[in-house]
């Protein structure tokens, strides 16, 4: 079955903002995760736990929307309170799932709850 949404994978703040600016006017959902190592495992245990749950609900994304999977960087970069994600995008933790340009945001343990994830993808 053809996907109704576009999935984009980016690394770091600059790539993220570029992806967003190229998709003006679209409904953009972004999932921020600690970066994965060569074995494909993230340093952030909550991100590891939340990712399958979030991916499980992607089928509920509205048609024409965009799902950006963004790896924020290494743990040391993330811990710095002045990193661009924290400063400019106002992220407080990873994982974060948000709907760009709206106040809709799920942070950390909220991402474990598939009901909340589904609600964000389906509510107007």
């Amino acid at each position: 079955m053809a996907r109704q949404y576009e999935e984009v994978t980016v690394r770091g703040y600059d790539e993220f903002m570029k992806a967003v600016s190229q998709r003006k006017g679209k409904d953009v959902f972004a999932y921020f995760s600690g970066s994965k190592n060569e074995q494909g495992i993230s340093w952030c245990p909550d991100c590891v736990k939340a990712e399958p749950i979030v991916r499980g609900e992607l089928g509920y994304l509205p048609p024409g929307s965009v799902f950006i999977y963004c790896q924020v960087g290494e743990r040391s970069y993330w811990k710095d309170p002045n990193n661009e994600f924290k400063k400019t995008l106002k992220l407080s933790g990873v994982p974060t799932l948000l709907r760009y340009g709206t106040p809709q945001k799920l942070v950390e343990e909220e991402c474990f709850k598939k009901d909340l994830v589904r609600m964000m993808f389906t509510e107007d």
Binding site: T102, P103, Q104, K105, L106, E110, K113, D115, L116, M119, E123, D124
Partner: protein
């Protein structure tokens, strides 16, 4: 026969009914899964009892619903009736078991027939139901059988034949302050709860989501915009404190509106999350009663869904009233539209003298707009009038134009003047108040709010409302005249329309319903604040009400002006702020009314409200040492009484 235990509940059959059983052709008492054997055939027809609690229900509706809930096929019949016999024969021939209630054998025949009429609009017997759906009389039943519909219904999944008769334990209509609080509380006790919330768009097309008036078009955006106006004043004051402003300072409505709407959006999202987390089902749909325990919910696409619940809470709140004059819906806005207006309202006429009118006029003027307020008679009806007039004076001094004793009679489009009429009875002529070169860009109506109770099917279920106001009278437990239907919040008759009141009432109600608590909501001494430019905090009685309740000789009013230290440097508004307490002389001068006009009135009032709940007296107040230098300390040093006529002008500290 007597009692038999059926699935944990005790079943009572009273003796009068047993007698009637012996007269009829039925004999078996089928109690759930326990069949008490009798001499009848295996077709197990008979009078099935329904679980009845010890408070012997005489309510026809409850009885009917009880039978419908417990029996797949239910026939309300009359023994002597030929058509009833034919219906019974039909089901026998289909080898379907059914339950019959012979109404001619019942003392409560009238109530049951009335209930059937209200439910189905059919007076004739027999009245046949399958799976709680009404088929009709003999004609309709045999036609349904011929067309195969009857068999189809019988083949359907058994619906709600267990003691859990309904889809939900609690259904709340209205997802505002009261409704959400009650729903979440009930869910913490493990109850199955559903909330229906739906916002009918305004005539201008404005709409919003979950959260009710307070979050979306009430307290929250109002206070934020009030704060925006206060900051404007602070910028002006700041120059006296040494701040040097390089650029001209002006206000951008669009930026403020966006910031306010962003915050409201995040609050709304928070509510959605909280509801989901607490396992409350939320439907964005308009709810109407269609049966004693049944609601029809219509969503924005017109799709109808039906829900049943054991208990209901009506928390539908209110919406702004229009004047009923030509052009009001086409050309005027209300508070429902104001907070999301995409561009600045500009030169605005506010019609009304409610706190909504004065608060809106106040902050709009504070943002630099040219504002006029049209008042039919008095300001802030129901509030202490002395305080209300001081609020009005302050607004006038700060540039708001009051047009007193006029009402609009017609509103035309923006390029023509509006026509007004004097509210004095003697003047019955339409006057052109303003010349044609002067007009308003916006007319904001704030003439009151109407309860949303007229189109939710309350007459179907018999919930009494005040026909004139639409408000619902309830007892001390927020129960309407229908025992399983409750109401909370702004829809209530005679209660203060405030968010915290609704929340408290909702929470306590849920606790009483599901957690064996007995605490009732205390509606006395509720503190309030009006966020006009000069804020007004109050708790307890107004001067008028205390005179009426205790008599002028039995109360003592202490008062004083005060000048906030912060306003001295910019040299503004001395002898404007005002403090007043009303004491009941016969009870050690207990404080029965607290009133304050000044900045941060809400913060000032909250603490004193708690003290009043403890029965604070004037002496205790005097014995409390003040905090210096703050406005509230004035309450610890009140000495001049109104009665004495002494001078209360203050020079600051």
């Amino acid at each position: 026969m007597g009692n038999s235990v059926c699935k944990g509940k005790t079943v009572f059959m009273d003796t009068t009914r047993i007698k009637s059983l012996q007269n009829s052709s039925t004999g078996v008492i089928k109690a759930g899964e326990h069949k008490i054997k009798s001499h009848l055939s295996t077709e197990s027809q008979g009078l099935s009892c329904f679980t009845q609690d010890h408070s012997d229900q005489r309510d026809g509706r409850e009885i009917v619903q009880g039978f419908l809930g417990q029996n797949k096929v239910m026939i309300f019949s009359v023994t002597s009736c030929q058509l009833s016999a034919q219906v019974k024969e039909l089901f026998r021939s289909m080898k379907v078991s059914f339950c019959v209630l012979e109404l001619d054998q019942r003392e409560d025949r009238q109530e049951i027939q009335q209930a059937l009429w209200e439910l189905t609009e059919q007076r004739e017997l027999p009245s046949v139901f399958v799976n709680r759906q009404h088929i009709g009389d003999w004609e309709k039943t045999s036609q349904a059988h011929r067309e195969g519909r009857l068999q189809a219904l019988l083949d359907m999944q058994e619906v709600n034949l267990s003691p859990d008769l309904y889809d939900y334990d609690l259904l709340v209509i209205g997802g505002g302050s009261g409704g959400l609080a009650a729903a979440k509380e009930a869910a913490t006790y493990g109850k199955k709860v559903v909330v229906l919330d739906y916002v009918t768009p305004t005539p201008k097309g404005t709409t919003w989501g979950l959260g009710g008036t307070c979050v979306n078009v009430g307290c929250i955006p109002k206070k934020l915009m009030h704060q925006a106006a206060i900051l404007g004043q602070a910028i002006r004051d700041s120059q006296r404190y040494g701040w040097e402003l390089q650029e001209k300072v002006s206000h951008n409505w669009r930026n403020m509106r966006q910031a306010v709407q962003d915050h409201i959006g995040s609050l709304r999202f928070g509510y959605s999350k909280a509801l989901r987390d607490s396992k409350v089902t939320y439907m964005n749909a308009y709810g109407e009663f269609v049966g004693p325990h049944q609601i029809k919910a219509t969503n924005s696409k017109g799709k109808e869904t039906f829900y049943t619940a054991a208990t209901f809470i009506i928390a539908t709140g209110e919406r702004p009233r229009y004047l009923g004059i030509p052009g009001d819906k086409e050309y005027c806005i209300t508070s429902d539209d104001l907070f999301s207006l995409p561009q600045s309202p500009g030169r605005t006429l506010v019609v009304g003298a409610s706190y909504v009118a004065l608060e809106c006029a106040g902050f709009l003027a504070g943002l630099g707009l040219d504002i006029s307020v049209m008042v039919r008679s008095i300001l802030l009806r129901g509030f202490d009038q002395h305080m209300a007039n001081k609020i009005g004076e302050h607004m006038e001094q700060h540039g708001v134009t009051f047009i007193r004793q006029f009402v609009p009679t017609k509103v035309r489009d923006e390029y023509h003047p509006y026509i007004f009429r004097s509210s004095e009875e003697t003047v019955g002529v339409e006057l052109l108040v303003y010349s044609s070169f002067v007009w308003f860009l916006q007319v904001l109506l704030a003439v009151g709010r109407d309860a949303c109770t007229r189109t939710i099917g309350l007459d179907t279920v018999g919930v009494k409302i005040n026909v004139k106001t639409g408000k619902i009278p309830v007892n001390e437990e927020e129960q309407t005249n229908v025992p399983h239907i409750y109401a909370i919040g702004d829809v209530l008759e005679g209660k203060l329309e405030l968010t915290p009141v609704a929340i408290q009432a909702g929470r306590l109600l849920a606790r009483r319903l599901y957690a064996e608590h007995s605490t009732k909501c205390d509606y006395t001494n509720i503190p309030t604040t009006v966020f006009t430019p000069l804020e007004y905090g109050a708790c307890g009685l107004s001067e008028e009400d205390s005179i009426q309740k205790y008599g002028e000789d039995n109360i003592e009013v202490y008062h004083s002006n005060f000048w906030p230290l912060e306003w001295t440097v910019p040299a503004r508004d001395n002898n404007t702020c005002y403090a007043k307490i009303i004491c009941y002389k016969q009870d050690s001068e207990r404080v029965v009314g607290f009133h304050v006009l000044g900045p941060n009135a809400g913060e000032m009032t909250q603490g004193f409200a708690a003290a009043m709940k403890c029965g604070m007296t004037k002496e205790q107040l005097d014995n409390t040492i003040g905090i210096h230098p703050v406005c509230a300390e004035v309450f610890t040093t009140l000495s001049v009484t109104k009665r004495s006529g002494g001078d209360i002008a203050k020079g600051g500290c």
